[in-house]
Symmetry: C2
Subunit: 351 residues, 2 copies
């Protein structure tokens, strides 16, 4: 019998943040792809489009006119999934028909006045302003809401309906499923092993280097051992940090720098503006602000869908929806490819 080789032999890996498993079947990359091919992402977005509701001086759906902003710009989502004053559905009447109240706010934050830039094409100082605003949002909404989800959907493939660089913030009166899982898993880990899970994890990954994509004095980006999306990454601080507002200004600068490096590599991988959903998970807020949350470690997830090229994605369907997530290359292979890629953006290269 041959020796086990993760690149040739399917196996399961455990995701300790979600208490679940992923099937790694790296030999599947050998199969030819005859399925759906995506439209290549638009490469010619105009810098300013007066009809784009996210641009400076544009009129939005509710009739409001945007200021002539020259940095970040924050406003209430005009079609929010969460509103602050929804009435309570009343109490549960049966264990199979349970309802709970949901209240919250949804905001949109533009990263830059121009529509034709993305984070990796922005200056580090400009990215710093985005990070500062993220921290401010947690400070502003945290006292009211136990969870403030900051996330960016980038690219049409990820359901993003506007090419202007922006992210969203949905704050809720409840702890959603994913952070509730991360809360439970991190709490149990500290209890059992005596160290915050992701602090230990970052330390071990920094030492092993095998899955590290980029790193600097304060931060580390790895393709996690349990990654499900082909080029998924996890962005981790090296020191113990609960929430975005706790970052020092040095750490913010160095975060801007590592984000720019990671996102440049992503864009360079298939020479396309790389689609993804990303988001921040820090310790819950609201009443949790008064509790001991030392089991938490701040982190960001990047979930990009592309697998083979700028137009061939991974489909999380069928087996993945009904049974278990499955990936077609090992996390180590993905990390190796990303690590080898240039940190100079392909759009800035002299051709």
């Amino acid at each position: 019998k041959p020796n086990f080789d993760p690149r040739d032999h399917q196996h399961l890996r455990y995701n300790p943040l979600r208490d679940s498993w992923v099937l790694v079947s790296a030999h599947r990359m050998k199969r030819p792809w005859k399925g759906q091919v995506e439209k290549p992402s638009e490469d010619s977005v105009p810098r300013h489009d007066p009809n784009n509701p996210l641009c400076p001086a544009s009129t939005r759906a509710n009739g409001e006119v945007n200021p002539e902003y020259d940095s970040t710009f924050l406003f209430e989502n005009d079609f929010p999934a969460l509103q602050p004053d929804a009435p309570d559905p009343g109490s549960d009447h049966h264990p199979l028909f349970r309802t709970k109240a949901a209240r919250g706010v949804c905001k949109v934050m533009c990263f830059h006045p121009w529509s034709d830039v993305t984070l990796p094409l922005m200056q580090p100082e400009e990215i710093c302003k985005v990070i500062d605003k993220w921290a401010e949002l947690i400070e502003e909404l945290g006292p009211t809401y136990p969870w403030v989800q900051i996330f960016e959907n980038k690219g049409a493939m990820m359901g993003c309906s506007n090419p202007h660089p922006h992210c969203q913030v949905w704050a809720s009166s409840f702890l959603p499923n994913e952070p509730a899982l991360a809360e439970r898993c991190q709490r149990a880990y500290l209890q059992k092993h005596g160290e915050p899970m992701l602090l230990e994890y970052a330390r071990m990954e920094a030492q092993a280097q095998e899955r590290v994509v980029v790193e600097n004095e304060h931060w580390l980006v790895v393709v996690p051992y349990w990654a499900t999306w082909p080029f998924q990454t996890l962005l981790l601080p090296r020191r113990h940090i609960l929430r975005l507002p706790d970052l020092t200004s040095q750490e913010r600068n160095s975060l801007a720098s590592i984000m720019k490096r990671l996102l440049t590599k992503y864009d360079n991988l298939f020479e396309v503006s790389f689609p993804y959903s990303m988001g921040w998970h820090g310790a819950p807020t609201g009443h949790y602000l008064k509790e001991d949350m030392n089991h938490w470690q701040l982190h960001a997830h990047y979930y990009p869908p592309l697998l083979r090229s700028a137009t061939v994605r991974k489909f999380m369907v069928g087996y993945e929806m009904l049974a278990q997530e499955q990936r077609d290359l090992t996390p180590e292979q993905a990390a190796e490819r990303l690590k080898a890629i240039s940190e100079e953006h392909y759009k800035n290269r002299v051709k």
Copy 2:
């Protein structure tokens, strides 16, 4: 303050099969959609294509020639994610780097010799042959493997790379995440409430009627109270049944009939061959065959991605990936629309 109305006021609903919550924000359907529009699905598949490896008499990737089959046809997947003899990765060395062995088999089953039909366009007798083969597969693979996942990815939007009507079967040496969750939740429910969860659920839905899409003597299709995909449905038997092979021939005939009715409605909803992933969840097999599994009830999930039209889908991205699944119309609204739709397939209608 207004009274609570699920169509206007966001709320959470509990999914008792997955022990998690979904955010229902039905007022979001009011927002305009300016995002990605899918290619309309191909409407002109040739009945027979000698270069399609799924067609009768075609040569497959491994050089084998398909028989001139005239009903269903089963073969081993030429690019399997699970192989029967993968070596063991060895034991865990650290709680953050856990690996487990995975063994199994992957098969493909063609539903029909023609490429230009789908289940709703097949005769009930032909659908019965598919159901019989599904039951046979569980009987054949069940003794060896604790989980046999039968699933169909339909449509390019669902990662299906071949238009010929077919499904897949992945049997594994482990219980994957989703069935492991369903196992835990159903077991706890029977213990606590004294009745199998989905048997009680079917009874209550049949009585309430509000979410029933189609029903007959033996089966019921509902948009579950906790549905996450816009037009997701759950197919349930009325009597307590653990696994597909337990179905009587009467129940198989009536299953063929209700599947044809449901899938015809799906196709008629947007007058397009409706994409979805579907799959069967019956009681686990392998060593579980000898245990008391009465907490289980056989069921099938249909997960279709379309939301607004034949070309506008729901994106489960950003907030959904990082925080919690969110839907844009209530399950009751979805059921009402599906219920109102004709059971005569739009392709068979005299124009």
